[in-house]
Symmetry: C2
Subunit: 243 residues, 2 copies
């Protein structure tokens, strides 16, 4: 399914015509040794702010490399996708969620702790690099923001007024997902909250259900693993209410 994608790299530097950029070390390695590129080859660069730019590999040898930025090939767009709040799950599954949520257009991925979270330490740098690589491969113009691990309680206390929070409610008390997303007001953003493997505590469910910005979703009679629920809800939101 990747036939439309050329080589795309995310960079930190500002992008503008005629500028020369020193390559980051990991790009030197990746372009030389993994992708077997040479001086004179062209690739695409993006930085999340300036759109996508065609760049020529000006220098590439064992000591380093540089790009010559030639011309803009895509204008920046906002990519204002839904947020995903994930109560910590095991590392491999969280990494998979980050990769897939990036492909599915999440704007922000926030690991949260809940009453029943078995909190493993979070390697945020690794999650950022998984998100960056997925953004490069799926033709996004932004990399989703990876939040620091935050107690769910704190996020709820500080919730923005222009964003609805969809709670994936494993007790079956919510609204069917297609119905909920069809009714999503265009002027609001969205966030999806996925509970921990052991489910939310009853006190958390009670507290969330009375918050005006929370809507509980029912994902059907089968019991989904946390990561399946996250990706299913995100895919449905994007198909029905998203971009």
């Amino acid at each position: 399914m990747t036939s439309r994608a050329g080589i795309r790299l995310f960079v930190q530097a500002p992008l503008t015509a005629g500028v020369s950029l020193i390559m980051e070390d990991q790009h030197v390695h990746y372009l030389r040794n993994v992708l077997r590129q040479s001086e004179g080859d062209h690739i695409e660069l993006f930085n999340g702010r300036d759109g996508q730019w065609r760049a020529r590999i000006a220098v590439l040898d064992r000591r380093g490399g540089s790009f010559m930025v030639e011309r803009q090939t895509l204008e920046q767009t906002s990519e204002d996708g839904p947020w995903l709040l994930v109560a910590a799950v095991k590392r491999a599954r969280l990494e998979m969620i980050v990769e897939k949520a990036t492909e599915l257009g999440a704007a922000r991925i926030c690991p949260v702790t809940t009453v029943r979270t078995n909190s493993e330490r979070l390697n945020r740098d690794r999650l950022v690099s998984i998100a960056t690589e997925a953004a490069e491969q799926c033709a996004r113009l932004t990399v989703p923001e990876i939040g620091a691990m935050t107690p769910l309680k704190n996020m709820l206390m500080d919730w923005p007024t222009d964003r609805r929070l969809y709670l994936l409610d494993e007790t079956g008390a919510g609204v069917a997902i297609a119905q909920a997303f069809t009714a999503h007001p265009k002027e609001l953003g969205a966030a999806l909250l996925i509970g921990p493997e052991g489910g939310f505590d009853q006190s958390e469910l009670d507290a969330m259900r009375i918050l005006p910005f929370v809507k509980a979703l029912d994902l059907g009679k089968r019991i989904l693993r946390a990561e399946t629920a996250a990706l299913a809800a995100l895919a449905c939101y994007q198909a029905i209410a998203g971009n």
Copy 2:
């Protein structure tokens, strides 16, 4: 998200009240050593035909075990979900597709070969055991059928008249996914076809587009990996047109 599930096991034998079943070897190991169950504990059994039954662990020791089947807790339902046709992808990703597609209610998962398929050998027994375990955990009453690797061409020549085939078309030529599934005729089954990493060959696309049972789907502007496309489409189908 698994708080509603007790211990459930898929068995081959017929299930009826008062029958005693010899445990399969892997269940003896799993119940004793992984789940630390003992004689007298209760679990649920299903076989894909007779619904779900409460059973007591009558014998469980190092030499083997048996169940006493007590009473039916759920009647069998048809679980007539969509089929998933997957052009072979790398083993780890295919295994992930099988696990998640089971949770999302696929009735049949068929690995297919296409013009651009890099065919790895398929370990079908392993895929069946992944599907079985996922069915046990997600509260299904059936295990999806895992097809043998088949050329896509052969499947198309022999296509059932009562099932629509949705082609995940990475060229962007298809109909938006929410629109297509909203218009899915209730009397037809569905199948979703995911191409290989290199995309379908133009000759395949041309041949499929003129078949009356094929509808091309557009999954949006981002380029999805094969497994992300498969699971996103399946989740959307189930939410919009499915059970």
